[in-house]
Structures are given as structure tokens and as C-alpha cells.
């Protein structure tokens, strides 16, 4: 593994899926453990789960803040320019004062620029925390979005600041294909798509494949619980020439280990070699691509 890391300086593998609950976190964590050392970054800041498998201790916590406007009511003439400018309806100019709705503010800074009285300044507002730790040789960084905060992207950006050089960075993406997923995957060298061979799994996989094709990021598919479901997923992948890089059959033991927060490669070590093989495949793809 060391060769590729030295060669590219930086290797980012993102584990994504369209559908939730297909096994992204399971793959990300078991892959990291199988490699022996890796840097895991859980970018699902709404519902981070990698720590429920890695059980980190000695967690270093840092706050994540976003700039949010504060109006100096003394200096404000209630002219209404800020409210008119704000595209997100985060500022309401009333008859006696200006109200700022912090949670829906996108921190664009426009209100500060348009205020003719210079009565608006920005203060840092905490939206969540970044937690970093080390379990064995696996580093884990995850974000914890404050409950009630709608916007996850600033926190995902903060998690990604923990991407390190000369290491395999494994990013665990949130489900779906919206802004949070694009933010997570966009600089990846390779994306592992985890799916399950069911109609829901396939539908959401097709959606994600469309996005990755547009972003022009190389990817391969891990079919989880490959023994349940039907053949439609395999058929689709074959037709599209998309490579299946691993299959994990349905195994109640894996489900039970997951429920207890135990990475399954610890109990079923035969999977370690398979995950290492996955990384070798990625290594080749990245090397041939660059």
C-alpha cells in the first residue's frame, strides 16, 4: 500500500450509497481495520455512526462555527436593504427592529455588504463539533451537527480538513445525492458504492451512478447482503460495465456483530484479505488513471 501513497501523496477513497442502511459505515470501518492503518473521516455529520464501531477514547473536540450576522439596533435605520438582499429569508426587518433567523442564514455575508449604516457585523455561531481520536492505528474524525441545525455542509468541510497526506483517507458519506454527498465525494480518487440487490437499493444506486459519471470520479461497487434480493443489480452493473469489487453475502453473524458495535473482520478474519484486495484494485485504478 505504501507505494501508492507515496506516489499520489494523497489518497481519498469515499464510501457512498444512494440508499441509507446499505452498509457504508460497515465497509468504511472494516476496510480501515483490514488495512491496519488508515484515516477514517465520517462525513455523515447528521447521523455519524463510525464511532459506534470504533469506540474511540480520548476524543479531541473542536467547535465548528459559521459567521452569522448580528444587527446593531442602535445604528440600524430599518431601511430594509438587508432583508431585501437576503435570498434565504433569514433577515426580517420589522417596524421596530431587525430579526435574524440564525439557522436559515447561509453565511454569505451579503447583508453586511449592503447595509448602508455599517450596522451589521458577523459573529461566530457554533453549529457543531468535530471529534478526533485514534483507535489502534485507525484515526477517526467525525462531525456532530447540533440537533436543530439544518445545514450540514460547513461541518462536512471541517471534517475534510482532517484529510492527511501519505495515508489512506476513507470518507464515509451521508446517504442520497444532494449537496452533502457532492461536498463529500468531489475530490475523491475513488468512490466505493455500497448497495444491496433489492429494488430500493438498485433504484438509489442508479441515481448515484448518474451523479458520479457527471463528476467524473472513478468508482466500483460492493454488493452487500448479496445473497438476498434479486439479479437485477448484477444485470444493471454488467450492462453498464461497472465493476463489482466485492460481494458480502448476507450473514446473520455480520448483522449481529454490527448491532453490538463490533467490526466483523475481527470475528471473521477471512474478510481482511478481501478488503485488502479491494484497496489493491483501487490502487491500480488510480495509478492507471493518473
Amino acid at each position: 500500500m505504501q507505494a501508492i501513497i507515496n506516489e499520489c501523496d494523497l489518497l481519498i477513497i469515499t464510501v457512498a450509497s444512494g440508499k441509507g442502511g446499505t452498509g457504508k459505515t460497515t465497509v468504511a470501518v472494516n476496510l480501515a481495520i483490514s488495512l491496519g492503518h488508515a484515516n477514517v473521516l465520517d462525513c455523515d455529520v447528521e447521523e455519524p455512526n463510525a464511532h459506534t464501531l470504533l469506540h474511540p477514547e480520548d476524543i479531541r473536540i473542536t467547535d465548528v462555527t459559521v459567521p452569522t450576522p448580528v444587527v446593531d439596533q442602535e445604528g440600524c435605520t430599518l431601511c430594509g436593504d438587508c432583508g431585501k438582499f437576503c435570498q434565504f429569508n433569514a433577515i426580517f426587518v420589522g417596524k421596530t427592529k431587525v430579526l435574524v433567523y440564525d439557522e436559515i442564514c447561509h453565511s454569505c455575508g451579503g447583508c453586511v455588504l449592503v447595509c448602508p449604516e455599517k450596522a451589521i457585523e458577523e459573529k461566530a455561531r457554533k453549529v457543531g463539533e468535530i471529534k478526533s481520536s485514534k483507535t489502534g492505528d485507525v484515526y477517526l474524525t467525525y462531525g456532530d451537527l447540533n440537533v436543530g441545525e439544518p445545514m450540514a455542509v460547513p461541518l462536512i468541510k471541517a471534517v475534510k480538513e482532517h484529510i492527511v497526506k501519505r495515508e489512506i483517507n476513507i470518507l464515509d458519506a451521508p446517504p442520497g445525492t444532494s449537496c452533502t454527498v457532492i461536498e463529500t465525494v468531489q475530490e475523491s480518487d475513488f468512490v466505493i458504492l455500497v448497495t444491496e440487490p433489492t429494488p430500493f437499493g438498485l433504484h438509489d444506486l442508479m441515481m448515484t451512478v448518474g451523479v458520479l459519471d457527471r463528476l467524473d470520479v472513478p468508482y466500483g461497487v460492493i454488493i452487500n447482503r448479496s445473497t438476498i434480493g434479486d439479479n437485477e443489480t448484477v444485470k444493471f452493473l454488467k450492462e453498464r460495465g461497472i465493476q463489482v469489487i466485492m460481494e458480502i453475502p448476507f450473514d446473520r453473524r455480520i448483522a449481529e456483530l454490527y448491532s453490538r458495535g463490533e467490526p466483523f473482520v475481527n470475528e471473521l478474519p477471512e474478510y481482511r484479505a478481501k478488503f485488502q484486495e479491494v484497496v489493491r484494485h483501487i490502487e491500480e485504478t488510480v495509478r492507471n488513471g493518473t
Binding site: 447528521e46 455512526n49 459506534t52 464501531l53 436543530g148 445545514m151 445525492t177 444532494s178 449537496c179 448483522a255
Partner: protein, 290 residues
Amino acid sequence: MAREIAIVSGKGGTGKTTITAAFIAISQNVIMADCDVDAPDLHILLQPDMNKTEEFVSSKVAVIDEATCTGCGVCESSCRFDAAHPPDINSISCEGCGVCELVCSEGAITMQDKVSGHIHESSTRFGPMVHAKLLPGEGNSGKLVTEVRRRGLQSAEKQGKDIVLIDGSPGIGCPVIATVTGLLLGVIVTEPTLSGMHDMKRVLSLMNQMRVKPMVIINKFDLNLDNTRDIEEFCKEDNVEILGRIPFDSIMTKSMIAGKTLPEFSPDHEIVGQLHEIWKRIEDYVKMTK
């Protein structure tokens, strides 16, 4: 006025859509609304006939006129989203705030309407359905969810239905906040895994914050009986009603592959009986709060 009930989970893949579809088939008397606008799956089981499809426009995107742009770079340094790279705009990163248009001294930038997704009003074999699909990479899921809910209520009014049943999305961010705001009842489908419990607690605290009544269904309860007991104790302490525990059963996947709801696929199955009872309890709650 009809009342809204949403099925949410925090964690993805716990069985939201399968259970929502089962309730729809049992009741045959609700308006259905799929508020998982990022990865909607309910239509796979309900096969709606789309009567009306509209573009959803709720934000703007900056466009630079290359001929007028002098490449001075002031937009680039003012853009907080790393979207302005004159003469180009990265439309995925652009949040439509309008700051670049404001600072451009040449008047080379205009803000144009942006289609963020599509919204459908449909008919199914169980009644009317409202659903939507956010375009990949979009960040307006909250607004689209609100629009789906508005149309769901409208349709309920027209058809004289008492309940709008909403299939929610995983997570606790923007779309989930928009989904739970002002609900009569939020049903959390959880599973007895450490991550399932962790995610349930976060969505529960979101619902407490928004003053929305929660109830819980434990799916795949026999996967880990200790964790199931922990969930039950936790809910008891928090005064959260447990609607039922559903065993881990391959019928969930089999019915999905058949493209049917559980009650259609296997009307006499034990789980279907349980879901009938749970739905009855939900209906009773709706009646009680009238």
C-alpha cells in the same frame, strides 16, 4: 384540516418505506407524501400514475457574461462558497446568495432562476400521492419537502381525507427538519443496533425541540434482544410510546422484490397483523387529538 403523520428514522435502511407502504395499504384512506426527495423509493411499491409534473424553482444561480467580465476577481474573493471562478461559476457550489452580482463593478453577473427538482401529483391504487425528486447536488431539499407537504394537505382537503402519511428521509438535517415541523405525530422506525439507537436518540431530540409527538417502532427487534430492551427502557424513561416490535424477516425484502406492499404480498403474515394493530393505534391517536 387533515393531520400529518411522518415516518422517520435517523438512520437509513431501518424500514421506513416498507412500513409506510404497509400502512398505506392497510388504511387505503390517506394521502401519501414522499418527503425523501433526495432518494425517494415509495413510488417503486406504489407505481403512481403521474397526473401532473412541475419544475420546482426556489433559488437562483449566478451566471457570468463572459463578454463583459474583465476577470478582476472581486467576485471570487467575495464568494463564501468557492463557486465564483470568473468567467465560470460552479453551479453545484453556488448557493444563489447574490453577493457576486452585488460586488461586480461591470454588471457582468446576473442571478437566474434555477430548477432544483421536480414535483409530481399522482394517483396510485391506494389513492392520491404527492412526491418529488431533487436534482443531484441540490441543497434545497427543505423547501421542496415543504412544498410536497403543502400539496399533500391541499389534496387531503379536496378529497376529504383526514390523514396525510409522510415517508421521511434519514438524517436530522434540512429535509428532516422540514418534514417534522408542525407534525401531529412522528413515528420513528429504529433497529436494535448501536447506530440505530444513536440515530434514534438524535431524531428524538430534534422532535422534542420542535415539540412534535414521537412514537417508536422497533424493527428487526430479535437481531439483538439486549439492545431492544435498552431502547424500550430509554423510551419508557422519556415517556415515548413503543408502538410495536417487528421481527427480522425475509418477507420484507421478498415483498419489495415482488413490487408489492406487505399486506398485498402476504395478507395473513404475522407481521402484517402487527402492522394492522399499530396502524389502528395511530388512527386512534389521531381521533383522540381532534
